[in-house]
Assembly symmetry: D2
Homo-oligomer: 125 residues x 4
Amino acid sequence: MDDKSLFLLAEDALQNAYAPYSDFLVGAALLTKSGEVYTGVNVENSSFGATICAERTAFVKAISEGHRDFETIAIASSGGKAWPCGICRQFMYEFGDELTVVTGPDKDHLEKHDIKELLLEGFRL
Amino acid sequence: MDDKSLFLLAEDALQNAYAPYSDFLVGAALLTKSGEVYTGVNVENSSFGATICAERTAFVKAISEGHRDFETIAIASSGGKAWPCGICRQFMYEFGDELTVVTGPDKDHLEKHDIKELLLEGFRL
Amino acid sequence: MDDKSLFLLAEDALQNAYAPYSDFLVGAALLTKSGEVYTGVNVENSSFGATICAERTAFVKAISEGHRDFETIAIASSGGKAWPCGICRQFMYEFGDELTVVTGPDKDHLEKHDIKELLLEGFRL
Amino acid sequence: MDDKSLFLLAEDALQNAYAPYSDFLVGAALLTKSGEVYTGVNVENSSFGATICAERTAFVKAISEGHRDFETIAIASSGGKAWPCGICRQFMYEFGDELTVVTGPDKDHLEKHDIKELLLEGFRL
């Protein structure tokens, strides 16, 4: 699946976001190495620290179905281009430093970075 | 779906847990009010703070598919009975104080509590 | 130190809260078994999940100075009575189930619960 | 204060770390723009997700005392060189993109990066 198609799935997913505290809706679409796609949204919480971002939602969905190898994640938001926060970068990095991260204000203006650029000198136990 | 059947789904799910740092595998099965079931596992991280428990995995899966109303969550672990941690209680409580939480060492010795007993004087913005 | 005095320290601390996203300012004052007091505030983050509450701030301050045994924590907020969120309960519970938690809208209307009431069936590895 | 001296304070702090689950002790020393130093340690939790790293401990200590402007953070660990995890990078980035991060296996082999290199395309609301 190409980046544009994956980004469109992220955009579609975003409508299910639960973001009553920021009104910042985010959707993510994660492509596994085996070709399957898992989507996610951000889920906020009254105690902000319990909030889970769209990227991590997509990851835990895929992981709980047995996946461990990932190719690309696309991220769309109600506020335009949205690079992942540091928590999500940490979460993704656990599963390899080859992941490509794609985002943009719309499907025709996508940008990309590898996770190892986004988390230089990444930490792993 | 009855509690035993839900617990068995949690037990089945547990095999996909990613828990290399604790070797404590957890599975959860969440029943929505509309009768659908979403399962989850714990996903640990080199930076422990980025770890997501099985219960939250099940919740974000259901929420990202549009669900907001939940009936029961069952939890099974490789270490026997496993009540949810405080983070997960906070996460669940956001979606109502009527949720029933079920766990046990096996399907024939289940115990249950309402989330409002497990998070007395619960915090919501 | 009595509960009223501890609560007043929590109220004083609150002015240093960093809460630009919720405008909900929280202060905490933690009394160690050896009689010392550590205060804390909530520190929010653009990525909500990285937010740290006032209670955890007070705890990590005390712990990083070598303390492990705690007596009472008092919590004050700009929005009145504020029981700790589930994340903070989990954090506190790690250091014993005897801690007393005190909060109220003001020093003359304090309420209290033990952490083991606030985190029934608490989880510890 | 120079980087070596700051790193030595981080090394000293590390002895108070609470890390029973990983046995990976971390200390941090944070220098404010006004020249004060706050130290921190990692504080682990039975529910791994509630763990707070040394860097965030140092930050919340300083913030709760009214500081908002930071110069340098040094990090020492029982396992050698330790760049901050993604959660901590996100936490630090909230307070400016000019912070210098210093770590090394010992005071004579220090390396440094700016936070904006460590969190390229950083996320801020």
